[in-house]
Symmetry: C2
């Protein structure tokens, strides 16, 4: 999939629409990392032990370390990174505003589900990008080192208190719903980015049927992650 | 100074008192970094722009990145890093509890004054350490890249609102007072660490008169930093 798309992928230099889409993509990822830092740093305060707090602080630092490379690429395009991120502040801030974790476990599930969704989306879009951009996007994906940490903590919490499982299952559904709502809002506002995914003229994107299948895959993987956490999806 | 002390510096393997002092030193630095992360991440929320927020988030990440090496060394001594940090949690948490910044500027001054004091102290103690430990302690010092950022922001703030200068000058004195109070508490509780600084048997530390001169130097440098910020010390 990656190879076949690569042969026809436009470069960001050649095609202004593709370039606008890439600028949007890098900017939304960068702003996502900044808010992930904030969210994880905030969750660290809820940590039941200093070791847990340090783990979350380290996760937060990994997110922020990725921002600089994305901003450098935006600057190389002659774009101010903060202007590029501006259109994505409201939808991403609203996502976080509507999904503020009430406790340590909700924070863990949000980090796990949110990173998982973001990584799945990056993987889906990567095939439609030129090699340079794809490399940057893939580098923004989680190393996955903290997945085991979250799964272990959440499963242990549910083992101790079975009601927690029911509450977190509802929480996971709410996270997915809010994420889709805000993603839809971004798609409606950002034509070039949407066109890249949906398959505009001369772009090797998805058609609308394929877009539907992509959302189905994202939803399925979300449900798999909920199951890994020991939660009903 | 560094060379002459080095010739007689004991190694952490040979001398149990020196080893206890080094364990305390690495642990207090590590816990200091963790709380510096928390403080900077919290201050990032007060940032007047997204660019300022990102700068603070990056400073926070630099602090947390240093913790792992300190913890590794503690583990190499057969010490649990979280047990080693435990005695320093109350004094450092109290320092932060008593000096919670009320706004963006107080946060900036606290970061600048706090990092400056910590670096001066590390520089003072470095001469009495074996080469391996000294290298770790020196690596924990700030790269100093964000000093210019803070000085520029604080000076611009004072230029806009002169009353700010008076308030921040008082704030700087309070920070120094709280830091000395908690440092004294640590010194009273941790005999080996104090002995390393004050010059116990077989240790190339300072005598009490030299300790007094060290505090004078720390205070002088604090006043220099306040002046750099455009504040009366």
């Amino acid at each position: 999939m990656v190879e076949s798309a690569d042969a026809t992928a436009p470069t960001a230099d050649a095609d202004p629409d593709y370039r606008a889409a890439v600028v949007d993509l890098l900017a939304v990822i960068a702003y996502g990392e900044i808010t992930a830092f904030e969210r994880l740093a905030e969750d660290a305060k809820l940590a039941p032990s200093l070791a847990d707090k340090l783990d979350l602080a380290q996760m937060a630092s990994i997110e922020i370390a990725k921002v600089e490379r994305l901003h450098e690429r935006l600057r190389a395009f002659g774009v101010d990174p903060f202007e590029a991120m501006a259109p994505f502040r409201a939808p991403i801030d609203e996502f976080h505003g509507h999904t503020a974790p009430a406790d340590w476990y909700e924070g863990l599930v949000k980090a796990y589900v949110g990173d998982g969704l973001a990584n799945d989306f990056y993987r889906e879009i990567a095939a439609y990008l030129d090699a340079d951009t794809r490399e940057l996007v893939v580098a923004s994906m989680e190393a996955g080192t903290h997945s085991a940490f979250v799964v272990e903590r959440v499963r242990a919490g549910i083992a101790e208190d079975h009601r927690l499982g029911g509450r977190l299952a509802l929480w996971g559904r709410r996270l997915m719903g809010e994420a889709l709502t805000q993603a839809q809002r971004v798609a409606a506002d950002r034509d070039e980015l949407s066109a890249l995914l949906a398959g505009g003229v001369d772009r090797p994107g998805l058609d609308l049927a394929a877009l539907g299948r992509m959302f189905t895959r994202l939803t399925e993987r979300h449900m798999e992650r909920m199951t890994e956490l020991g939660l009903e999806a």
